[in-house]
């Protein structure tokens, strides 16, 4: 009896344990100081490493997974971050986040700085301070080769479909010219793929992207000339003057000692506006764009499928497995929250006093009727405004758990509804209290009815857990999109990630079926009753 009671207590306490220490240890990144009175560079020095935010899904040549060995992040900004960190006397640690949310994550305290093609623009300065620029990118227009009607000037973009990145200078330029702008949250690859197959008429993007994705595609043509210039700067926390000064000083030094020139030359990115910006020495005339050459060799021509399977995919397995483990752990813990809270909601809704019933209904409708993404954003970015800063892992578990609790509550309500009123009456006439009748008679029967839909929900949750990538967690889907972008291979890697998802969900589907079969015989209600 006491052992059983202990087990029940532990089960009820599980969500609390979820919020505790083990969760933090599992989280790859954890939140730190709130956004007030920060000195990020001092924190970084105390820690011995500077956390720099980026989105590797954005791809080459900024920050991306080496297509030949995806366990390594490479890119000219990886080299730049390392050089910058070196000047600041710390190590550089890249932290993953969605590109269009990087500055918000910086403000929240998830990074010390952001280095990922952040363009100098007024609206960005509202969220973060920007360093002096470290690179100037020309805007380049790419069209389909042989497309006689292709727009080749800015004016010609009017009314045409133009692909670019959201919130970029290129997007603003295209909009100003009256183009029909189509922006992409995924990899750069997709932008040029859509151009090639005719979904857009042109792509306006920064030089480095054009060089690495547009120019290497034989079906595409880069129009001569620059259509504008965007300067890239390091994002630092707003009002953090110490960090701003330290970063600016480091960029100055890197420009003067020729480190940046050599770095850009290696990536094939050295250009006139950057030369003017840096004012330092030029790269040596013997410099070879070896990094760009390596990229072309790796992804310029897609390998046949079977070669990809044997040569490229084995190196990705470790990354996929890590992503899968994170997806699984987050899902299991979120489900524990959902089951416990859902049960409480269902009991409140079916057996509680009126005010409690209304509260439960309100909760269920609110969480069922609003998108999970909105809830996750509110938990992660909204709660810090109230002084509650959760780590990405805990925020992910809580948001998923709160959302699925609404679905579970409805499952259990249906389960409780399937128990005939006479069962509770019978328990009551035997002298059981209402609570005892619920626990020993109604709940065990309700749970058996609710179990199959609950297992289904778990599988749905497993898939929805992909949303936690917006709070810097590299789970299975994010692993896929980043790799696909870096290796320019969406279809083959898509099959790999599908196998991983099936590997996670099939055991639960099987479990659901066998439980259903096992319980079916005992649960079936006598026809006469």
């Amino acid at each position: 009896m006491s052992k059983r009671r202990l087990a029940v207590t532990l089960l009820l306490l599980l969500p609390l344990l979820v919020l505790g220490a083990p969760a933090r240890a599992l989280a790859e990144e954890s939140a730190t100081t709130p956004a007030t009175a920060r000195n990020a560079v001092a924190d970084a020095r105390a820690r011995g490493e500077i956390r720099w935010g980026n989105d590797s899904q954005g791809g080459a040549p900024y920050v991306f997974q080496d297509p030949m060995d995806p366990n390594h992040l490479i890119g000219f900004e990886v080299d730049f971050a390392a050089a910058l960190a070196n000047k600041l006397g710390v190590r550089a640690r890249p932290v993953q986040g969605p590109w269009d949310g990087l500055l918000e994550l910086l403000a929240r305290g998830d990074f010390d700085v952001v280095i990922n093609g952040i363009e100098v623009a007024e609206e960005k300065k509202r969220v973060a301070d920007l360093s002096r620029p470290y690179y100037v990118a020309a805007m380049r227009l790419t069209v389909r080769k042989g497309d006689v009607g292709a727009p080749r000037t800015l004016v010609a973009l009017r009314g045409r479909k133009v692909g670019t990145l959201p919130g970029s200078l290129a997007a603003r330029l295209s909009e100003r010219e009256g183009a029909e702008v189509k922006t992409y949250d995924g990899g750069q690859n997709d932008i040029y793929d859509d151009l090639r197959i005719g979904r857009t008429d042109a792509v306006l993007l920064d030089d480095p992207i054009t060089l690495y994705y547009g120019a290497i595609d034989p079906a595409l043509e880069v129009v001569d000339g620059s259509f504008g210039e965007a300067s890239y700067a390091v994002g630092v926390p707003k009002g953090d003057t110490e960090t701003l000064a330290a970063v600016n000083g480091a960029i100055d030094a890197l420009a003067k000692d020729g480190t940046l020139a050599a770095l850009y030359a290696r990536w094939g990115l050295w250009n006139e506006p950057t030369e003017k910006l840096l004012g330092g020495p030029k790269p040596p005339s013997t410099a070879v764009a070896e990094a760009h050459d390596a990229w072309r060799a790796a992804v310029g021509k897609p390998l046949p499928f079977w070669s990809r399977v044997t040569e490229r995919y084995p190196a990705t397995i470790g990354l996929f497995a890590r992503g899968a483990l994170l997806s699984l752990v987050v899902s299991v813990l979120a489900m524990a929250v959902a089951v416990t809270l859902g049960m409480a909601l269902a009991l409140a809704r079916v057996y509680g006093p009126k005010p409690l019933q209304w509260l439960a209904v309100g909760y269920i409708e609110l969480f069922r009727g609003t998108p999970l993404l909105v809830q996750l954003t509110m938990v992660y970015f909204g709660l810090p405004e109230l002084g509650l800063t959760l780590s990405p892992f805990v925020a992910g578990v809580i948001a998923l758990g709160l959302n699925y609790a609404a679905a579970e509550a409805e499952n259990y309500r249906a389960g409780l509804g399937s128990v005939p009123a006479g069962q509770m009456d019978a328990a009551r006439t035997l002298g059981l209290s209402k609570l005892a009748a619920l626990r020993h008679v109604a709940l065990p029967q309700a749970i058996r009815v609710a179990l199959p839909p609950t297992t289904n929900d778990f599988i749905a949750l497993l898939k929805d857990s992909s949303l936690i990538s917006v709070v810097t967690l590299t789970e299975l889907t994010k692993t896929y999109t980043s790799l696909a972008s870096a290796m320019r291979d969406h279809l083959g890697l898509g099959l790999v990630v599908a196998l991983f998802y099936l590997g996670l969900s099939l055991p639960f589907a099987r479990l659901s079926r066998s439980v259903e079969e096992r319980l079916g015989s005992k649960v079936r209600r006598p026809a006469s009753a």
Partner: protein, 230 residues
């Protein structure tokens, strides 16, 4: 122990006439009483009030010297008065034995071994000890009924109520009910059987009450009352 119901009143919200309008009845210890009456005469309401499932608005119920008034709360009889449901309402997720030991263990905190020993005695008494490990869905109607009786008797009630005990049984099994009632009566439990089955009432009961409009319209030995009614 005997049961004495005095001036029992029960009104259903919104109904013009009370379902029980000052009903009086007395059943001596160990006797079997049948309650007859047309639909709407108040039979089901009487059962629900006597079993403590529904509160009543006036009068008293006296069980073995303990009196409950209109303020009595739900379930306050605490196993003193048992009820065998028309549909039996066995717990489908529990074995026959567990059906019979749940209340003693949960309500009285009886040890499992003791509760099981008593339950086995009761099941043996009713001739279904071989079904102890079975689940309710594997039982016939008559077996279910005897499990429901054993389950109620496990709480050692003074009074046992039955709601239409023959309605869910094959006609061939109906005479079994009378035998079962006699067996139970041997243990000293007072039994009240709500039924519309005249032969069962005539054969199995010591006393018959005929309800009409929430009152007892006639009562007495079965041969007298049923002859009159017929």
């Amino acid at each position: 122990m005997s049961i004495c119901v005095t001036d029992l009143v029960k009104r259903h919200p919104g109904a013009a006439a009370p379902a029980l309008a000052g009903l009086c009845m007395k059943v001596p210890t160990g006797k079997i009483a049948s309650v007859l009456g047309r639909s709407g005469a108040g039979k089901t309401t009487l059962l629900r009030c006597l079993s403590g499932l529904d509160p009543f608005d006036g009068g008293t119920i006296d069980v073995g010297g303990v009196t409950f008034g209109a303020g009595a709360k739900h379930g306050s009889f605490g196993g003193r008065i048992g009820l065998v449901f028309q549909t039996f309402e066995l717990f489908p997720h529990l074995s026959v034995l567990d059906n019979c030991t749940l209340a003693p263990r949960v309500v009285r905190g009886e040890a499992r071994a003791r509760a099981e020993a008593r339950a086995m005695d009761l099941l043996a008494e009713l001739g279904i000890e071989d079904k102890a490990r079975a689940y309710p869905e594997a039982l016939s109607g008559g077996q279910k009924q005897r499990v429901a009786i054993a389950r109620a008797l496990a709480m050692e009630p003074s009074v046992l109520l039955y709601d239409e005990p023959t309605s869910a049984l094959d006609p061939a099994l109906k005479h079994e009910v009378g035998r079962t009632l006699r067996r139970v009566s041997g243990t000293g439990v007072t039994q009240i059987v709500v039924t519309h089955d005249l032969p069962v009432a005539r054969e199995a009961s010591d006393l018959v009450f005929v309800l009409d409009k929430g009152r007892v319209a006639a009562f007495g030995p079965p041969e007298e009352v049923i002859a009159e009614a017929a």
